[in-house]
């Protein structure tokens, strides 16, 4: 996969840059290689996490996992959001709203 390279400039904590340089020396690469690899892996992980959260949510909507299991997987705040969304999918809830 090749794409046009873009020059970027940013500030980072000194110790983080020192660690990147140390790893670059060990691997016989330069700082840019280390930073690009780190960024690429981080972005992949972040995208994967969102997809995973959606799968976990789907399992909860379909009653394949309990609310407690959901909470253990995604944390209390996200679990509370997903509980509200699951209620939106309840046919009785939609009927109640429609009748008012």
């Amino acid at each position: 996969m090749s794409s046009e390279k873009k020059r970027v400039q940013f500030r980072a904590p000194g110790r983080l840059v020192d660690r990147a340089d140390a790893l670059a020396s060990v691997l016989g690469e330069d700082r840019t290689d280390v930073l690009v690899t780190a960024l690429r892996e981080y972005l992949q992980e972040a995208a994967h996490d969102d997809a995973l959260t959606q799968e976990i949510a789907a399992a909860y909507y379909d009653d394949e996992i309990t609310y407690d299991q959901l909470r253990a997987l995604v944390g209390a705040e996200e679990a509370a959001n997903l509980r509200v969304l699951k209620r939106q999918l309840d046919e009785d809830f939609v009927d109640e709203v429609a009748e008012r």
């Binding site: 959606q54 509370a80 509980r83 509200v84 939609v94 709203v97 429609a98």
Partner: protein
């Protein structure tokens, strides 16, 4: 008419399909007394300045401001919510609104927990309600949800996917 409070996220969703006939914004204004707090209107103005689909959606709603009931509320600074969400929740509680329309999927737990007797309803649910009450056909509702989902990047959201199947139900 039942009183409904709308927050900015829901108004933008409705605005995306405001040019379609029939559309859920017009149905909403015809079926409910739709109230918004000042903060939501301010936020809507801000979004309306964007040169994108959300900006055009917010503009479409803003052009119908005279059909909304705009009210001011005293914000409860204790609420862990942004000002416009805080204001929408406060207005819903103060006026004992039947529904609060909100599409902030990542904040719904907090919004729900802050409401007294008002039911929280998302735009996909509102479309289901219009199907139940024969104001939209299932086909019309599905097309509207597809258009809103595309603009709001909801396609990968499993809640929206299931809400779409709910529209298929008899």
């Amino acid at each position: 008419m039942p009183r409904v409070v709308a927050d900015t996220s829901a108004l933008v969703s409705l605005g995306i399909v405001a040019e379609v006939e029939p559309n859920p914004l017009s149905l909403c204004l015809a079926s409910y007394d739709v109230s918004v707090p000042d903060e939501v209107l301010t936020e809507l103005q801000e979004v309306a300045s964007y040169d994108d689909e959300h900006g055009r959606a917010a503009t479409a709603v803003r052009d119908r401001t005279d059909e909304l009931t705009v009210r001011s509320v005293d914000l409860d600074a204790e609420f862990p919510l942004d000002d416009w969400e805080n204001a929408a929740v406060t207005l819903a509680n103060e006026t004992d609104a039947a529904l609060l329309l909100c599409d902030e999927f990542n904040r719904l737990g907090l919004v729900h927990a802050s409401l007294a007797d008002t039911r929280l309803v998302t735009t996909p649910t509102l479309l289901s309600v219009f199907v139940r009450t024969d104001r939209l056909t299932p086909d019309e509702a599905r097309t509207l949800l597809d258009d809103i989902s595309a603009a709001r990047s909801w396609d990968a959201n499993s809640y929206v996917q299931r809400a779409r199947s709910l529209l298929d139900a008899p």
